[in-house]
Amino acid sequence: MADTAITVEGARKRYGNKNALDGLDLTVARGTVHGVLGPNGAGKTTLVRILSTLLRPDAGRVEVAGHDVVAEAYAVRLRIGLLGQHAALDEELGGRQNLEMFGRLHHLGARRARARADELLARFDLADTGRKPVTAYSGGMRRRLDLAASLITEPEVLFLDEPTTGLDPRGRAEVWDSVRSLVGAGTTVLLTTQYLEEADQLADRISVVDAGRVVADGTADELKAATGGDRVDVVLRDAGQLGAAVALLPLTGVRVDADRRLLSAPVTDRMAALSGVVRALEEAGIEAEDVALRRPTLDEVFLHLTDRTKEAA
């Protein structure tokens, strides 16, 4: 028990006749970053809202930091931080005023709340702008302040609901850096995202969620391995020869991307496939710019898994 930060068993939540969560199971080990990956409407936000005591599940057992989110909501709230999809700040107030307010609401007392606000402003590189109203902040600064607000009491478990949605690449990098430094401090992080790259970059383990259930679970490498292994990519010089190449090459399940003059196919025997492709192209006199073996991207894993659940439904 002690090494589990989050336990979800058969969580259900229904809105009208739509199941937002349809018997979701999830276990997150203490001190790890867990990515929850899924398309829009998969139930990611509903899951985070239940875990952070904002919503009650219709059924199922949900425990965070060893406490039940319904029966012991207060105990859970003492131990969590939440970064929602939208910056949960008082926009008219300054950065420091916001942090002080949240510190007082954590019952730190006026002096400690002030000291903590200063610490966090410095840590998130906001010390110079603490007086400015949040409305004057850039998107990345706002997100950093929001993150600082969720860390007032060094929570045991931190929930990040699509933390970088709507941020430019720079803002995204800023938030990623902050999350990485937190993990070093031993916080358990549950992160939802639509960006596969984000899950790949930050998460120790990933749960792929679709239609309110976990459809796959594992490390990024395990997920990639589970989806048919390696692929070979062939980029031709002349897009007009793509058709001929598909007919000719010793491959099955070929995908063609004409814009990029690219053929892509799953392979089982890496070296045999590679030499077979090169030989066949040479014999037919088709010029290739690039032939490469690679692991599948998480994008492919994701499409594969979510397509499969749609077929099953």
Binding site: R49, L54, A71, L82, E92
Partner: protein
Amino acid sequence: MSTSTLTPMTHALSDSWTMTRRELARWGRQPVAVVVNLVFPVMLLLMFGYLVGGGRGLSGDYVDYLVPGMLALTMAFGLEGTMIAVTRDLDKGVVDRFRSLPMANGAVLVGRSAADMLQSVLGLVVMIGVGYALGWRAHGGPGAFLGAVGLLLLFRFAMLWIGIFLALVAGKPELVQAVQILVWPVGFLSNAFATPDSMPGWLGTVVEWNPMSQTATAVRDLFGGPGGEAGHVWAAVAWPLALLAVFFPLAVARFGRLSR
């Protein structure tokens, strides 16, 4: 239930005070918005006092009739401010953060009411000052004066909880605009500007039954001005209390339903 379900009661007061201070800090950040809020009813008062006023067939001076009506109207319009503030917080997600904190659940609503009541007191002070400058006088003595202010604030308190409830139902600031439009007929289909007997029969009846008219009539009586009716105070107490008895529990329940 386990002891860790609820926030300790000791936090309720300090959390409510923190939430009230948050609103006061917002005033400091946005003095212009505060001034605009205070000036709007003053403009209405000046408009009716100078453009429309006079020759209303009242026994006394129109300003003595108008000022108490405008004070009640200011309290009624406070409902809009409450609604805007509540929906803005809901929309920004800041209410979600509050609800995820180990703070007293009701403090969000208590802070809202305390801040809005303070703003209403400020609004009354300004309006009474302007009324005084226009020549309005309270003739009823200090006790009656304070009683009148109390009735106005009680009415505002009822409007406040209606505002919180409507905001929680509407949810989005865009929908508030639709509800705001309803405040105007309630405000103007009252005896704030004119006596009901000067209106067509059915309209006069509506106006007379309007809770805001009850407050205005009682306040006029306590100020010793025209249009007041002795013994009307009970109605000006009963109406807001009745509204509170309905909308306070509705608003609290609706706030609790955010977790559904």
